[in-house]
Structures are given as structure tokens and as C-alpha cells.
Symmetry: C2
Subunit: 210 residues, 2 copies
């Protein structure tokens, strides 16, 4: 059973997904940005890319999104691990042909990568839209796995009490925004950039999941 | 041509990889920890896992490792992007059968996930080693892609000079180490944990690549 709240948490916390397509009978895993709207995940590819050509063939694909939350230091080497949240989505890529949905997909991607940018950036031109394939993947066949726990050591190792064990959290944050070298006018960094929620944490969902 | 220094930088900066295997004719992308030694990438699977059974069949697999470095705010929606470093490794998984190499692989994985732990943690027991399949992938068929640049805006958008554009770096750090709830004796957090190099940055390589 899909826990949609858990899926939204993963979608919202990560910035890139890993898409596996088959190219000449061999899997290829591509990191790529994404966006989503309702039950549809959107990614974009250059229309010239071989991975796009493979995907439009309607072959089954898999998209995995992973957020790494902590390193687990256990008493035993065997129980060293990581805390993470991941979503695995199976399906077939659907090429978006409707111009309105193409724009919805592009907006979802841009707004996920850079919230607030869609309203201020120059919209995609006809030429840019022709060069961009927006592909959609149904989110209803997604499964979410979460490890958010202490070390899972053996009772005898806990009892032996020989070394420290615990959780070392990984935290993500934004560094100082660096203006483009070719920016003609010195401008303040816009508030949609300076006030951006930190990466690795869901910002759309009301209540944090973990 | 493989830039081994660039590959080492990616291997060293990330903690998990995304492994694609074929399961019943459909690609499956699994996030998993890894280690490496020389030209060999090691991952481990439970010997009972279906993904392990698929991999030992000798089917071609792909492992992709991605480090996300920044979000690119462009003048145009189209040129919004991310700065990243990624390695894509193609090959066939080799099941490690030699007990000594199995231990080398496990050590490489534990030392990558938690540097300094191998020397202090209880070593894997015979039972744990039997339950763990260590699989190896040759690193010589790896390719590395890096984007480490300003927005790639069109000349007319740069000249129009309507909005801010630039790079928002993503920084990773360690949070405060949390002792396991079942730790019997209050101990100081060991120095191999407190002094650990921050995630997302290569710590083995002498000179930073970027």
C-alpha cells in the first residue's frame, strides 16, 4: 500500500532522481531533476538524447529517489548502516504531447528545482520547447522505504558494551548565493532564493513526516 | 578516456550509489552503500535478496553515483539547472567467493560509510559473512560527468538584464552525533566520528578537484 504522505516527503526532500532505462539491452542509470503534479512525475530530456529515444519506445523504466539522513555507527561492522528515505517508482514513460501539459511539466520541474523562478524567469520559447521532451511517469506504482532508527546491534554486542554506538545525522544547507559572473547589474539576491527552505527537508508538506 | 582523479572525487564524496539490475525483464534501481579498493567497487546484498539473485545471473548492471553541488538560477526557465558530479559505471557484477576478498570488500564498505569503524567494531562473524553477498564491479568502465559552472543563459537574456541569476551552493555537514538509546555506558563520541570530514567533499584525495 502506497503511503502517499511518505512519497510526498521523499519527492519534496530530494532534488534529483535516478532514472533507469534500457539502452541496447543494458540498463543505464541517469541522474536528472524532476517535478511532480498530483499523481504524475515529470522529467525532461533533450529530444536528441539517446536515453529519450529509448524511453519513448515504451520500455519499462524505474525511477528511484533517495534522501540520505544519517550514518549508523554500530558495535558490529555488520550493523553499520545509513538512515535514508527512498521512493522506487516503476512504470512506462509517457511522452507528453499536449502543449499545455508540456508547460505544466516544465513548470513543475523548474518550481521544484528553483521555487519561485517560474514567475520571474523568461518562459520557454517555441524553439526551447521543441528541443525539450517532457516525459511523465505515473506515481501510483511507487513504493517508499524509510530507515530512521538507532543501530540494530545484536543483544550480545549491546551487553558487551565495548564501544560507542549511535547516529551521525547528515544535514544539508544552502551556501551563500553567488551571482553569475555575467550579471550586468549588481542586484540583491531575490527573496525566493535567500528564503528558500533547506535541501533534504520537505517544505511543501504541512507536518514533517519524521 | 576515464579521468581516474575525477572518478575518485565522486566515489569519495558520495555515500550511496544507485544500482540498476534487471528483475523479470524490468529495471530496478536500488540505493545502496558501497566501498572501493583500487579498480574494484564493492557493494553488499543480503544473500536472500531477489536483487542479489538477479545480479549473480551475470546480467549487465549499471551503477550511478551522484553528488549534487548547487542549483543554477538562470534568466530563462529553460536554463535552470544543477551543478553536479556523477559517475556511471557499466559492467557485470562478480560475486566475491574468496573469503579474503570478501573481507576486503566488507572493510572497504564499512570504512567508506564510517571511516575508522573497522578497527574498533566487532568483525563480521561466520554467520554474518554467510548472510552477506559481497559483489564486485570493475571500475575501469566508468565515465564521469561534471557540471560546475554559472548559468548558461542566452546572450539576449543576459543583455536584457531583467533578473538576478547565479549559483546557490548545496552544502552538507554532520549534525550532532546522537548516542544509541541502548548504549549502556555514557561514553564520549569517538574522535573518528567527531573529526569526520564533511559529506559531499572528497577527503581521501590530496588536492580537491573543483
Amino acid at each position: 500500500v502506497l503511503d502517499r504522505r511518505a512519497l510526498d516527503d521523499v519527492l519534496d526532500s530530494a532534488l534529483v532522481c535516478h532514472l533507469a532505462v534500457m539502452v541496447d539491452g543494458v540498463p543505464l542509470v541517469i541522474p536528472t531533476v524532476y517535478g511532480w503534479q498530483g499523481d504524475t512525475l515529470y522529467i525532461h530530456r533533450s529530444t536528441g538524447a539517446g536515453t529519450y529515444r529509448a524511453s519513448v519506445a515504451g520500455e519499462p523504466v524505474c525511477v528511484t529517489i533517495t534522501v540520505l539522513d544519517a550514518v549508523i555507527y554500530a558495535r558490529s561492522a555488520f550493523h553499520h548502516s545509513v538512515n535514508y528515505r527512498s521512493a522506487i517508482i516503476h512504470g512506462r514513460l509517457r511522452t507528453v504531447t499536449d502543449p499545455e501539459e508540456q508547460l505544466v511539466g516544465l513548470q513543475a520541474i523548474v518550481e521544484h528545482v528553483a521555487p519561485g523562478s517560474w514567475a520571474v524567469a523568461r518562459p520557454p520559447s517555441a524553439k526551447e520547447r521543441a528541443a525539450t521532451a517532457v516525459v511523465a511517469l505515473d506515481l501510483t506504482e511507487a513504493s517508499v522505504k524509510v530507515r530512521a532508527a538507532d543501530p540494530g546491534d545484536e543483544p550480545e554486542d549491546i551487553a558487551a558494551d565495548l564501544i560507542w554506538a549511535g547516529v551521525l545525522p547528515i544535514e544539508q544547507s544552502w551556501g551563500a548565493a553567488q551571482p553569475a559572473a555575467d550579471l550586468l547589474t549588481a542586484r540583491p539576491v531575490p527573496t525566493h532564493v535567500t528564503s528558500r527552505s533547506r535541501p533534504g527537508v520537505a517544505h511543501r508538506a504541512g507536518t514533517p513526516l519524521l
